[in-house]
């Protein structure tokens, strides 16, 4: 008996689509495979697309099938993900993964206490937004597998995000992924842990248990794939339960680098609506800041989603900074500069930091273990914060690089 014909597809096509492609596979089509390519860049890269497609179908052992690619100028990492997704959807993936070589610029590690002023959310199934995101110098880029991806496209987004982590230059931004809630979230980890993700964002975290479950799974995958770089966690608290358990969640893992708050879901959960003034979320936000600080990690504020209101964004960042937040989420690259400028240290903050750093350097030179400023002892975290303030001040050209060389 003949095998049944299967037609499966993935990706996007049409006049409005840019930097993406559509791939369809039709099995039991003919003797041997046939690859059909319609591409906007046919002249320049038609041959290279054909070669990539042939390599992939050979890798998966596809036979007697027709592969149709309608390309609107997709980069190779996107085309590869779309083809692989169509193959998976046709049931021919056999648990294999087609991996492109990792971009050498993408192997950098992160530090638990690095600055996280801005984090840019990018919808996980829209690769065209990934390509230049790093040029806008956000502290972190979040490839989102959760709310911005339609349920029917979760599998496609996993592959796009995986390929992006390997291929797209993020220009030094922290490489973040927001996974789905469990159990799908645990599945997501397989597509990101082996590919040098720096920080994993867990949405709707409500208990220490979920963090521990994630940590175990991450450790298992790290061992399995010999991943050397540290991977940190940023639980997002988005419910009354999460806020009440904030401290417990913050302490649940040594890999937690920050707690973030998500106010859309939180306000819905407590039965109210977000206002500009934000009285309804004041408790949750200060609670989260307090829990994070008590656990010695960063507190990161929610997303500012009106991309046209730059003044509103600036005010919102200053307010967040005033209650202890160290970072803000954003959804458009033009918001990044505004956020960074609003987080610029004030004159008084810089002057204080200069004194602390100078005292620290002097103590080091003299081989002293204890650092004192006037009659006060200074702890290591205070020094670290002062150093960060100085770094920000230099980056913003408020003080010269060699401010202490006189």
């Amino acid at each position: 008996m003949k095998n049944p014909k299967i037609i499966a597809s993935s990706g996007q096509r049409g006049d409005k689509v840019r930097s993406d492609c559509f791939c369809q596979i039709e099995t039991n089509y003919s003797e041997g495979n046939e690859i059909l390519i319609k591409s906007k860049v046919e002249v320049m890269y038609g041959k290279s697309i054909h070669k990539l497609a042939s390599d992939i179908i050979e890798y998966f052992g596809i036979k007697n099938s027709k592969i149709l690619i309608e390309d609107s100028g997709a980069l190779p990492f996107i085309i590869a993900a779309r083809i692989e997704c169509a193959i998976n959807r046709a049931g021919l993936g056999n648990g294999k993964e087609y991996l492109l070589p990792i971009n050498k610029k993408n192997t950098y590690a992160t530090a638990i206490d690095r600055g996280r002023r801005s984090r840019l959310y990018l919808p996980g199934n829209e690769p065209k937004f990934f390509i230049n995101a790093g040029l806008h110098s956000p502290d972190g880029i979040i490839l989102d597998l959760e709310d911005s991806v339609a349920p029917s496209e979760k599998d496609a987004a996993q592959l796009i995000v995986r390929n992006a982590l390997r291929s797209v230059d993020f220009f030094g931004a922290e490489r973040m992924v927001r996974i789905n809630q469990f159990p799908r979230g645990l599945e997501d980890l397989k597509y990101i842990v082996p590919h040098n993700v720096n920080v994993i964002l867990l949405p709707k975290a409500e208990s220490a248990d979920s963090i521990k479950t994630m940590e175990e799974e991450v450790e298992k995958l790290k061992k399995q794939h010999e991943v050397k770089n540290e991977i940190y966690f940023m639980p997002i608290l988005e419910s009354a339960q999460g806020i009440i358990n904030a401290f417990e969640i913050a302490k649940a893992s040594k890999k937690n680098c920050a707690l973030a708050i998500g106010l859309e879901d939180y306000t819905a959960d407590i039965g109210t609506q977000r206002t500009a003034e934000g009285r309804e979320s004041y408790f949750a936000r200060t609670m989260l800041v307090n829990a994070a600080k008590a656990a010695g990690i960063q507190a990161i504020d929610t997303v500012f989603s009106d991309v046209n209101d730059m003044e509103g964004l600036r005010i919102s960042v200053l307010e967040a900074k005033s209650i202890g937040f160290e970072g803000k989420g954003c959804i458009h690259p033009r918001q990044i500069k505004v956020i960074h400028e609003a987080f610029v240290p004030t004159f008084d903050e810089i002057e204080k930091a200069k004194k602390i750093v100078t005292a620290f350097d002097d103590a080091k030179k003299k081989g002293l273990g204890v650092i004192a400023l006037g009659s006060k002892m200074i702890d290591a975290p205070v020094v670290k914060r002062a150093q960060n303030t100085i770094k920000l001040a230099i980056e913003n050209k408020l003080i010269p690089k060699n401010w202490n060389k006189n």
């Binding site: 840019r18 930097s19 906007k40 860049v41 046919e42 002249v43 320049m44 890269y45 038609g46 041959k47 290279s48 609107s72 100028g73 997709a74 980069l75 190779p76 390509i131 230049n132 040029l135 806008h136 230059d169 458009h332 690259p333 033009r334």
Partner: protein
Amino acid sequence: MKMIKNAAGRLVPDKINGEKQIPFAGVNKYRPSGYKAKLPVRSCVDYPMDGNKVVKSLKDALIKSGIKDGMTISTHHHLRNGDVLTNTLFDTLKELGVKNIRWFPSASFPCHQHLIKYLEDGTIHHIEGSMNGPLGKFTSMGKMKGVGVLRSHGGRYQSVQDGEVHIDIAVIASPTADPFGNANGVTGKSACGLIGFALADSEYADKVIVVTDNLVPFPCLPWQIQGNNVDFVVEVASLGDPSKIVSGTTEVTKSPDRLLIAEYVAQFIDEAGIMKEGFSFQAGSGGTNLAFVLYLKERMKAKGVKARFVRGGSTKYLVELLEEGLTDYILDGQTFDLEGVRSMRENPNHVNTSPFTSYNFHGKGNFASIIDTAVLGATEVDINFNANVVSHSDGYLLHGIGGWQNCLYSKCTILAIPSFRDRIPVIVDEVTTLCGPGELIDVIITERGIAINPLRKDLIKAMKGSLLPIKTITQLRDEVFAICGGVPMKPKTDRKQVVAVVKWVDGTILDSVFKVVT
């Protein structure tokens, strides 16, 4: 036809459409001599004494103008993509059974794809002007009877002035006109601002037909076109679609990458020392070209620096500069939005200038070379800073040159471009079609970095220590190729079949466009 290698190293034909051509000899090397084109002596007594030149239809006007096969007919492009008159004109020529017309527009738009059937049936022999969109594709496929000629706005004027192109009949779409033929573009339902590009046509053509959908009693003021040069006036119901003629407002791009480029441009102009008291710049209407003005404005305010003049394409953003006292004058070549039209009407320092004050090769100097910096675009730039604006990397003609070549003469020419579009590299090894020689292009500003032409040691020195991402052009190219997936293949072309040529501003041939083979 023989192919010769010109001074830019490009293969160009010695003859096109039966006429001998001069290959490009290098920037500022070629000097035509002799006298400008001469006009026949006319006498006013041969024209209606009462000043009424109205005839009943365009067809009538064409017949009275002595229309015959092989003539050159010119039109202007101020109605942009809303132009219906040009299409009607060729419908009429077809009806008259005229063949082998040389169409000489100042630019073409996608709406002119209506004319493809007349290129196919031989009504039109070839186009000299620009071949945009569908007309470009048609030309690139080798389907046009003659060889197309691409010229800059200044080059078009040059070719008319020195007799390279003789216009038999000029058909001038005029949003307002009187029966004597005085005409303008500032009023009427089809108002488009200026109609300056038709100036040369009105002065040099054998016969001049003014066509209007707003006939007013004499005198029509202002008279951007002088009735003293006009033979016939035709009234029609409509010249075109006003919604496609002028935009109500021009908006700055929202693309974060283009805004980043625009920010780099402003920072570069500031840090290179170009932005100083009394400086000047040229701004256009394209996404990036509009946005850099906003960033430059912030910097001018912060430093308390004022420009002496800005050359437009005016938009509301230039008008704001003028009204906030950040420039003394706008010298306007064309008006892009209603704010620009208003300002020009109300503010004596917003000056209506003919494009040929700036773009005239046979003039005694040009504004274009006085300007401190011009920010322009391109479809491709190569590692020798040569740039292309007419075709894409797939070999197809798509755009006209406009004033681009002429603006390259500014003291610092900046191309503000993305390093690649989708997967199409914009920085390449060698441009598909050469439109601007690299020695006139000073800086390439992309979202991935800025390359300064090695010839501009002064700029390189000025930018030492800048925080801007200054790179070499080859570094940029390598980055782009790595992202796009290797060196792009070149389009297959038939090197024996020249479908169009690109003229330099002096009338010599800079490059050939070959038939694309599929």
